[in-house]
């Protein structure tokens, strides 16, 4: 059983958006900071840093989770997706991202990566969400610009389009 000492940096490896990555982290380093500072993936935003605002939401081993409530060393060996993985190719947005643009579901955009990651994961398992379900689910995210109404509209629209043409996710 290796004991990772507090004062040293230790190798952390995981799969990030389909590619193996590795870097070094102290045991106390949060996954948010590791993604942003060591791996250069700044799409994951740091808001409250105690799990409430949802801006840092990513996918860990296939389910959405808060990067700020995870240590980098805990993620060793995991499979991670961040908002950078959503667009199918450069210059093209995913169905969900496109719906956000169409419905003006963002203004400042700070909360957007987290909400996109949560909804991306939710819509994969809930193809016909009701507005009530989405409201409850989005309770785990704070947005101070939109009042949430356009976000709900975008999510419902994306769900509908994904039902019609799931291949274009």
């Amino acid at each position: 059983m290796p004991r990772l000492s507090a004062d040293q940096r230790h190798r952390v490896r995981f799969t990030l958006n389909g590619r193996p990555v590795e870097a070094e982290a102290e045991p106390r380093m949060l996954l948010t900071d590791f993604l942003r500072q060591d791996l250069g993936m700044t799409g994951t935003h740091v808001g409250c840093e105690h799990g409430v605002c949802g801006a840092c939401t990513i996918e860990i081993d296939g389910v959405s989770a808060r990067a700020c409530l995870t240590l980098a060393v805990q993620a060793d060996g995991a499979t991670i997706r961040t908002v950078e993985a959503l667009a199918p190719e450069p210059g093209r947005l995913s169905v969900l991202q496109e719906a956000f643009r169409r419905h003006h579901a963002l203004q400042c955009g700070f909360c957007t990566p987290g909400i996109l990651m949560s909804l991306d994961s939710y819509l994969r398992t809930h193809s016909e969400p009701t507005e009530t379900e989405l409201r409850e689910f989005l309770g785990g995210h704070l947005c101070r610009c939109t009042g949430y109404v356009p976000i709900l509209a975008a999510a419902l629209d994306a769900a509908k389009r994904l039902r019609e043409a799931p291949a274009h996710a």
């Binding site: 004062d7 949060l30 799990g51 060393v73």
Partner: protein, 275 residues
């Protein structure tokens, strides 16, 4: 907001976890899903010298049910229990309480036993354990013991666990025919900490009500099968005994009123479920 320095051990066997706990005792903290521990580390409310990660121990990852009880291992995440197809049939109160725990995104990582270890007075899982006469299995290098939920929660975020012990599992009795179960909660937003949460178990000859978010720990009361104003009076007396305090979220008076009204509504819902 960054945690202070600590060593990190990813335990590969139960005895490794026990040894680390025996060596570091109160300077160590066990980390499972980390959903309540990480905020405490980041705010430096907790400054352990070492974290012992128990999520990779296969023996802690199981939900076992035998018809009379459900045993939930320390590495079982809240979302896993919620997705367990037998849950609603096996124990309706747990099925009703779990969706109130944090957010979908934190339930995906947070464990059932982690919430029990943290012992927040407004947390739903400790409340359900108190209402159901659940038990907590503790083990250390020297001994194993089982503690009832009623004896386990000893105050605000404090429990009967000693520093060298690991929670291996919690067990709740399966739902029984002839009993009705209900859970209700009031908070500002879904996912926020409960201002008041109530769990009720209704039998033919009596009722149990358990309340979280008011006293320094989840607290329960058993009543005979009261009705009408007799039930209101019993709930009123219980509300005063809980010694509610004013805080940022609600006044003591408001909390007492929630205990009276939501307590009654929860009991009535449990009675309907029994019928």
């Amino acid at each position: 907001m960054k945690p202070a320095r600590f060593d990190y051990i990813r335990a590969e066997t139960l005895s490794e976890a026990h040894t680390a706990l025996a060596e570091d005792g109160n300077d160590a903290r066990v980390i499972a899903g980390g959903q309540t521990l990480l905020p405490m580390l980041s705010m430096r409310l907790a400054r352990p010298k070492v974290l012992i990660d128990i999520m990779h121990l296969p023996e802690l990852q199981k939900i076992k049910a035998d018809g009379s009880a459900i045993r939930i291992g320390a590495a079982v995440r809240q979302a896993e229990l919620l997705a367990w197809p037998e849950l609603a049939k096996s124990q309706p109160l747990l099925a009703a309480a779990l969706p109130w725990v944090g957010y979908a995104q934190t339930r995906n990582r947070g464990t059932v036993c982690g919430s029990v270890a943290h012992a927040d007075p407004s947390a739903e899982i400790p409340l359900a354990l108190i209402a159901l006469d659940g038990t907590i299995e503790l083990s250390s290098r020297r001994r194993q013991r089982t503690v009832s939920a009623a004896d386990f929660f000893t105050g605000m975020m404090s429990t009967a666990r000693d520093g060298t012990e690991l929670i291996e599992a919690v067990t709740v009795p399966a739902g029984r025919r002839g009993l009705g179960y209900a859970f209700q909660e009031f908070g500002r937003r879904h996912g926020d900490f409960a201002i008041v949460a109530c769990a009720a178990v209704a039998a033919q000859d009596g009722i149990r009500i358990a309340v979280g978010g008011v006293a320094d720990r989840p607290t329960r009361r058993d009543f005979p099968a009261l009705d009408g104003s007799a039930l209101d009076d019993a709930l009123d007396a219980f509300a005063w005994e809980l010694d509610a305090r004013d805080d940022l979220h609600a006044t003591a008076r408001y909390r007492r009123e929630l205990v009276r009204r939501m307590g009654r509504a929860t009991i009535e819902e449990a009675r309907q479920c029994r019928a």
